[in-house]
């Protein structure tokens, strides 16, 4: 009803709509998977380690992202059906709350990945002092600080989302963090490689070099998945702020729902590349499922 004043071209970029069933399936899968991880870590005392707490933090932020999308869809359906009014103070506040939940999820994901990378870095380069540096209490304190910061920032960003001052730091933070995480992993990678070379150089060693590219593949998967799932949305925010009327930008913004689905896919993929790699966690899952049968 708002567009009657303007003329639309036939070659307009229409919104690419993702079917609601797909949305809900992907979101539900993400929530369930991450919930399982949380339950497993809580139930198994062997998993009460800083490493797993950081993985839990990642699982929580993934869950929040999927939850946001699910709730939003539910509310939109309720709006369409008529249970909720479209204009109203309550809906506006609810909307703001959900926006901040989403930004909280993104920031939480980034900082959790950073914490996981830093934890592994300390494990490798400060190996003998690891248990003194990264105590359980310190890990919990670090997580508390991270989440407090993310919560504050997300509320601020959601309230002031129309200011350029919030959009720019938000979009700069994203590649900066990725670059920092990449540096940490590359450094660890180099150390592992030189260690492998030393082992291979032993005269008694019969090691074969089949695993040379495996580390590169793993690291590429780590960062590639995160980039491919979140970067489209970050670009969307940038374009929405700076060129909403440009036709090219508008065409990019028409695939907004696909970008949202990608974020939920990230919630499904992250547990596979972080949590499920741990044999201890996998055995906890098996125990959980066999016991429930």
């Amino acid at each position: 009803e708002n567009i009657s004043d303007f003329s639309l071209n036939i070659t307009d970029c229409t919104q690419v709509v993702v079917p609601e069933e797909v949305f809900f399936t992907v979101a539900a899968a993400g929530i369930l998977e991450n919930l399982l991880i949380l339950i497993a870590v809580v139930r198994n005392k062997n998993l009460h380690l800083p490493m797993y707490f950081f993985i839990c933090s990642l699982a929580i932020s993934d869950m929040l992202g999927s939850l946001y999308k699910t709730l939003e869809n539910i509310f939109i359906i309720l709006c369409k059906v008529g249970y909720l009014t479209r204009h109203g103070d309550f809906e506006k506040k609810l909307d703001d709350a959900m926006d901040s939940m989403f930004i909280l999820s993104l920031l939480g994901s980034i900082f959790s990945l950073l914490a996981i990378a830093a934890d592994r870095y300390i494990t490798i380069f400060y190996a003998l002092r690891y248990h003194n540096i990264m105590t359980l209490r310190r890990a919990l304190v670090i997580l508390a600080i991270i989440w407090a910061f993310c919560a504050g920032s997300s509320i601020a960003i959601a309230l002031f989302s129309y200011e350029a001052a919030t959009v720019i730091p938000f979009t700069i933070l994203f590649p900066l963090m990725m670059f920092f995480i990449l540096c940490l992993y590359v450094h660890m990678f180099l150390l592992a490689r030189s260690h492998a070379k030393k082992i291979a150089s032993l005269p008694s060693s019969t090691v074969h070099h089949r695993t040379n590219t495996k580390g590169a593949i793993t690291l590429t998967i780590f960062l590639g998945v995160f980039l491919c799932c979140w970067a489209p949305f970050v670009l969307h925010i940038l374009l929405a702020r700076f060129c909403p009327h440009n036709p090219y930008c508008a065409c990019y913004m028409s695939i907004f729902h696909v970008n949202g689905t990608l974020i939920m896919c990230n919630a499904i993929i992250n547990p596979m590349i972080f949590a499920f790699r741990s044999p201890e966690l996998r055995s906890t899952f098996k125990k959980m499922f066999y016991c429930s049968r």
Partner: protein
């Protein structure tokens, strides 16, 4: 995302008298946008973005693969100290001070005997030594299993070589060549 609607409401306010806060599945009204006279394809940003992202990821993969491929394994044991030098220069290049070396040399003084054992024993023996050392600080037995075995070995091997000059230490951790993957695939402590 509804925050975006605030933006679109502000821009469309120029044409509309009332700013309705509507909750709609359609986030954007493309009214003000004219699609006439486009020089490039209308989805060019989408295509360009995804192509750029794919190129970047593949580039990153190749760079990482190249990092693994430089240098063939040397059979000459005398070159081990040279490799240690290279490793340290890598460390220095990354801006990390050789603090870990200082730390380790300090700890070497304290734990030199145990590290000597690390150097010449196999992994299981190594773990037992560690367990006896770190027993009081561990919370449980399984904690011990989480003690950085393969990653700790990296440091200990390096410093064994520096301090004890044992090029032939019988630390035939053949499956520690998987260590390169371990620390990236799962948590470093567990040798897969």
């Amino acid at each position: 995302m509804c925050a975006m609607r605030l933006i679109s409401n502000r821009t469309s306010q120029q044409a509309l008298s009332n700013s309705d806060y509507t909750w709609d599945y359609e986030y954007y009204e493309y009214g003000p946008v004219s699609f006439e006279g486009l020089k490039a394809h209308k989805y060019s940003i989408v295509i360009g973005f995804w192509v750029g992202l794919a190129v970047f990821v593949i580039f990153m993969f190749f760079v990482l693969t190249l990092l693994t491929k430089t240098g063939a394994p040397h059979q000459d044991n005398a070159e081990i100290s040279e490799k240690r030098f290279h490793m340290n220069s890598f460390v220095a290049d990354f801006g990390k001070p050789l603090e870990s070396e200082r730390v380790f040399s300090h700890q070497m003084a304290e734990e030199s005997q145990s590290l000597f054992h690390f150097c010449i024993n196999e992994v299981d023996h190594m773990n037992k030594e560690k367990e006896s050392q770190k027993g009081p600080s561990l919370e449980s037995n399984t904690h011990f299993q989480e003690v950085p075995k393969s990653s700790g070995m990296f440091e200990e091997d390096l410093h064994c070589l520096t301090k004890f000059n044992i090029p032939n230490f019988v630390n035939t951790e053949q499956n520690s060549s998987l260590g390169e993957d371990d620390l990236l695939i799962s948590e470093p402590p567990i040798i897969l």
